[in-house]
């Protein structure tokens, strides 16, 4: 195997945001259309009564993640191609840290709130 498969910097790398061969307005137009579609669905779902209430936050988060994917692919031109391996690896590490931060904070704080005595009782005991 040649060195082409290893993710190290070479002439075959692409900078994030640079579209491989030909930069086209079409890519941005598709991205804009998809982004507007997903945004529209988000705003619709948030205000409608057609959907079962408790499912709405989950649906909104899923739609937001989908729209971030659309932005990454069509606006930032992050692809799965070999020239993008370094960009994707950095992105994956960033996403890992973001997930650790969010789930860790929420998990710990939820349990703290759950285990803590209600504030008014605590105040009464300190008196």
């Amino acid at each position: 195997m040649s060195d082409d498969d290893t993710p190290e910097f070479g002439a075959s790398d692409a900078a994030p945001g640079d579209e491989g061969s030909q930069a086209g307005v079409a890519t941005y137009l598709i991205g804009l259309g998809l982004a507007f579609l997903l945004t529209g669905v988000s705003f619709f779902i948030a205000q409608t009564h057609l959907v079962w209430g408790p499912s709405i936050p989950v649906a909104l988060i899923v739609l937001a993640i989908a729209q971030m994917g659309v932005h990454l692919v069509f606006f930032l031109h992050i692809t799965t191609g070999p020239d993008n391996a370094n960009n994707v690896l950095a992105l994956a590490f960033g996403v890992l840290i973001v997930l650790l931060l969010l789930t860790g904070s929420l998990w710990i704080m939820f349990h703290l709130n759950h285990n803590m005595m209600p504030m008014d009782q605590l105040m009464r005991m300190q008196r």
Partner: protein, 188 residues
């Protein structure tokens, strides 16, 4: 050897990811504190989704015009580049002014950042994004002036590329923001 453009773009990409990690810390604190209204108003009572919708449309369109500007820069076409950058500036400025108006309205209703932990977290998170957009607007004007004065030199084109990465990343953060803060907040 990789070109300097690739190395600069990659370095700026790393910076953007670190910026997104900083925002995720603000998101985490907002999520933790969003119920701590201290008897004050909740998000459901405060958020105006029409305003947020207009802000979102502005920012999405500005991401598109920013993409057109980077195509214009690659083609070294000044009419395309300068017009698209100007459109991006106008849309970004509308976004910032709508956000300032919203913040001023909240403060006037007694729902300033000092009212409750929820509002502190809200103003920190949304305000931090607004400050990023404001800084981006100044960077945008600088890039228009530099292209005008110095032309499409490789170093100027690298700066234009970093600017467009920054602008698109701000749009991604706004997607998380309007979904998590405004839409989920208004539903609860």
């Amino acid at each position: 050897m990789p070109s300097k453009r690739i190395i600069v773009g990659y370095g700026f990409w790393i910076f953007l990811l670190s910026d997104i990690i900083m925002f995720s810390a603000f998101f985490a604190s907002y999520a933790v504190l969003s119920d701590s209204t201290a008897g004050g108003p909740t998000g459901k009572q405060l958020f105006d989704l029409t305003n947020v919708g207009i802000e979102t449309i502005c920012l999405l369109l500005s991401s598109f015009t920013c993409g057109l500007a980077s195509i214009g820069a690659q083609r070294k076409s000044s009419p395309m580049f300068q017009t698209a950058m100007a459109a991006t500036f106008v849309l970004g400025a509308i976004f910032v002014s709508l956000e300032i108006r919203e913040f001023a309205g909240l403060a006037a209703r007694g729902a300033g950042p000092a009212k409750s932990a929820f509002l502190t977290a809200f103003f920190t998170l949304v305000g931090c994004h607004g400050l990023h957009v404001t800084a981006g607007l100044m960077w945008l004007l600088t890039m228009m002036a530099q292209v005008l004065a110095k032309g499409y030199r490789p170093d100027i084109l690298r700066r234009v590329m970093c600017f467009s990465l920054f602008w698109h990343a701000l749009d991604i953060i706004w997607v998380a923001l309007f979904s998590v803060v405004y839409l989920i907040g208004a539903g609860q």
